[in-house]
Amino acid sequence: MRRIAILFIALCVCIFIAGRLSYAADTTPAKGEVFPDITLPVPEKDSEKEYLGLTGKGTFRISQVKADLLIIEIFSMYCPYCQREAPIVNDLYQAINKNTGLKEKIRMIGIGAGNTAFEIDIFRNQYSIPFPLFADDSFTVHKKVGEVRTPHFFVLKMNTDGSNKLIYSKVGTIQEANQFLKLLLDEAGLK
């Protein structure tokens, strides 16, 4: 019994240390790297499906989104910074939408880290968010992107073969919508 107990304790300690090390390691995809091809549920609303170029039901991979650039905000309804940032992010959506040359090329989504569908609805309604938001109540996506602080913005340049390259990966404010858009266009070589 004693030998089994010692082996068991050693195993637990190893699992604990491995868990803490993986937590501590910065696995956040950086600029120039590839954003993981995460899976999300196909939105129920037809307008959101159309916006992302999706059909049917079930799940989709972000590589299926029809866009040249995909802006992903990792946010939380419970994050005061994200709450303050919401109007600026909405401005970014409007700035893109106003530009007929860019409107079809850039898409935005938000992923609520640790938020349920009910909670992201509260955030959507509070700030009149015009782009699709997805719940990540099990932190699945949040873990895949290195458990980033919120809000974190990833901007993916989408390639025709389904691959992508990050042209932006930063936590914190985007400052001002038009300036941020210009930065992205310069980085992506889009006009």
Partner: protein, 198 residues
Amino acid sequence: MSQKRMIVFLSVLCILSCVNAVFASSEQFKGMIYDPGTLIPVDSKTTLKVGMTAPDFTLPSISGKRVTLSEYRGKKNVVISFVPAAWTPVCSDQWPGYNITKSFFEKYDAVLLGITVDNIPTLFAWTEEMGNLWFPVLSDFYPHGAVAEKYGVLRSNGVSERALFVIDKKGIIRSIDVHDINKRPPFEDLVTELEKLE
């Protein structure tokens, strides 16, 4: 160590080894948060039950006013949100969400009272980072944790549980959620309990 004690010890060790606290930290609190790691989910046992009268209390708030529970009797339903401690990960990720849910509380004619065992200056500095909270934040600092103890949610290390009590206008406890301290209660669970008040 007896075989039974050994099994209990190993089970607790296994749980603590395998479970990580789950939260997403806001950039707002960068460099300000003390992470106590994963804790025993619940470390108290409340004797209060649904249907009992909620124990009355008076506590100082960060606004300077003293708040007495019984003052809401006959006027408002009350939600009490105990959170364990200021400047810790999950707690800093709970009340800021409540800050954009005022309409839900209004819909069910309820007020929200936030309570921790921290002192007023600490609570003031901490909640300043959250923006202007619309609900009273109360300090159960001295006598230390007396209200948390009355409600049976004072943990052995002197902080409270992460707990939600819904109390109706008659002062009767209608729901108790002593939550896993490592996790934030989903907001819809509270809404479900508020809906039952109607």
